[in-house]
Symmetry: C2
Subunit: 298 residues, 2 copies
């Protein structure tokens, strides 16, 4: 496998066509897998992008997200890089299926939102050839229909190399740079705590809020009828793929529970201030929240 894009930032889209990774097989061609295929084809430096999926790949082929559809085993056998892009709960079974077929020297990577658990499951199988990756991108709608070649442009993609071979790490980094992403590396446990904070916790917060709203009927009135901005802002998050979120919770439980505990204390802090009528405390908490907002969404 040629690995010619090793400088910081690598060769971006639109530079001379150099084959970076030969044949890339994407297993699970939804929003992320499909967008990765489209972005790699836009960059034009892979020989072929192959799709493998539990469902039909007709849409992915029609949209040009993949060049060819094969079974998971066939795709693994011809790939220089295998990209697992299903919900993470499916990874152990996929690893078992592809292990006998993956060529020596080929690289296995993923796009999962959780890294510690994934490395524990896949590094023993693929040794130094497995490189964990997490592109930070999403959309309101899931599925390959929502995929787009520019989904990762300017987005972070975090690699958690752990014990991976340096050339395997560089191959995966080059692919993501080709796809438009800014590549960062991070220890898996730091990654899992960062995303428990900025992604997993907010999703759980929104899921729980929907449950509370669902049960509330003051004087027989359905509050949802009167939902304005306050509640509506949470609904995009609450509409996320339930299977993906179940898998995230089950595979990053320690960091997620720690964030839920910290968050519950912050909710209780506001509640106690309300109970004692402490307007100064509430005001300073709300002003602080406004400042954090400035950091999060500048």
């Amino acid at each position: 496998m040629a690995d010619t894009a090793s400088g910081p930032g690598g060769a971006g889209p639109g530079t001379a066509a150099v084959t970076v990774a030969g044949t890339v097989a994407i297993v699970g061609v939804g929003l992320i897998g499909g967008s990765f295929g489209l972005a790699l084809k836009r960059a034009g430096r892979c020989r072929e992008v192959i799709g493998a999926d539990a469902g039909s790949l007709d849409r992915a082929l029609a949209l040009g997200a993949v060049d060819r559809a094969l079974s998971v085993e066939e795709a693994a056998a011809v790939a220089d890089v295998v990209v697992l892009s299903t919900p993470v709960g499916a990874f152990p079974e996929l690893a078992r299926r592809i292990r006998p077929h993956v060529a020596p020297g080929a690289v296995v990577t993923d796009t999962g939102s959780v890294k510690g658990h994934v490395i524990e499951a896949l590094a023993p199988v693929f040794k130094g050839r497995f490189v964990g990756a997490h592109p930070i991108a999403g959309k309101e709608h899931s599925g390959v229909e929502a995929a787009s070649a520019d989904l990762f442009d300017g987005a972070h993609c975090i690699l958690t190399p752990a014990g991976a071979d340096p050339d395997a790490v560089e191959t995966v980094a080059a692919l993501w740079r080709d796809a438009g992403a800014r590549v960062t590396t991070m220890p898996a446990d730091v990654h899992d705590r960062v995303f428990a904070c900025v992604s997993h916790l907010p999703h759980l917060v929104a899921f729980a809020l929907m449950a509370t709203v669902d049960r509330t009927r003051p004087g027989g009135v359905d509050p949802a009828e009167f939902a304005a901005g306050g509640l509506r802002d949470f609904t995009r998050v609450a509409g996320s793929n339930p299977v993906m979120w179940r898998d995230i919770c089950l595979t990053n439980p320690d960091a997620v529970v720690a964030m839920l505990d910290a968050y519950t204390r912050d909710v209780d802090d506001l509640k106690q201030a309300i109970l004692r009528g402490d307007g100064d405390h509430l005001l300073s908490a709300f002003e602080a929240a406004r400042r954090v907002r400035g950091r999060v969404a500048p």
Copy 2:
């Protein structure tokens, strides 16, 4: 005061100019007060819209949200309808100031997000001439600069008549229909529980989340750097006016604390499911959240 728009829906904007409410004085000309002024002037059925504010009214006059600026006392003296549109914490002091000036028969109303507390404070002062109102509208930005004549078009405006005189209720209803709103009436305690659910709770949830994020630095990394959709969706809510939200919490404490308690139980339910690895429970909770989302943001 003529009250000619008494049918359901009233006379909408663009119908023949009939003076509904003579002179309307808006005390506190920010996003809501300013938009109400613009909408009433669009409808063209009030004799005059007067503004009174703690700050300068230059912008409100330049934007055409009010015809004339007076002191609170002067405005109250010439008004057929006085609309209190400051944060609700300022209402008791404003009531004390305007009471000696309000003409017999004039109507006093408000736009506050909390109704029980406001009625307790104002109904003893203005008797049957006080009508509580809450237009359900907002924007990311506050202040009169963000005001627009169409802010209430199609929005709910909830009246909580309590012991108000029927003609006073109809005057306020007619003004809000003129402003484009759909007028609904509701007991104040039901209103306060409905909005504790769909508005006050979501805001507190977002404020608390910002506090949690602010304190979290896994491995020295600032998670805000990696905030994608999950967290960003909450930031608009967390950027709301801190004084307004302090006042809401202090004036609707029972309903807000009850919702916080219910919500904390729902957060804990998800936490317990994660701790026991109960994927089925998480999946069904997340699927239920997705269905609620469909009801809230169809």
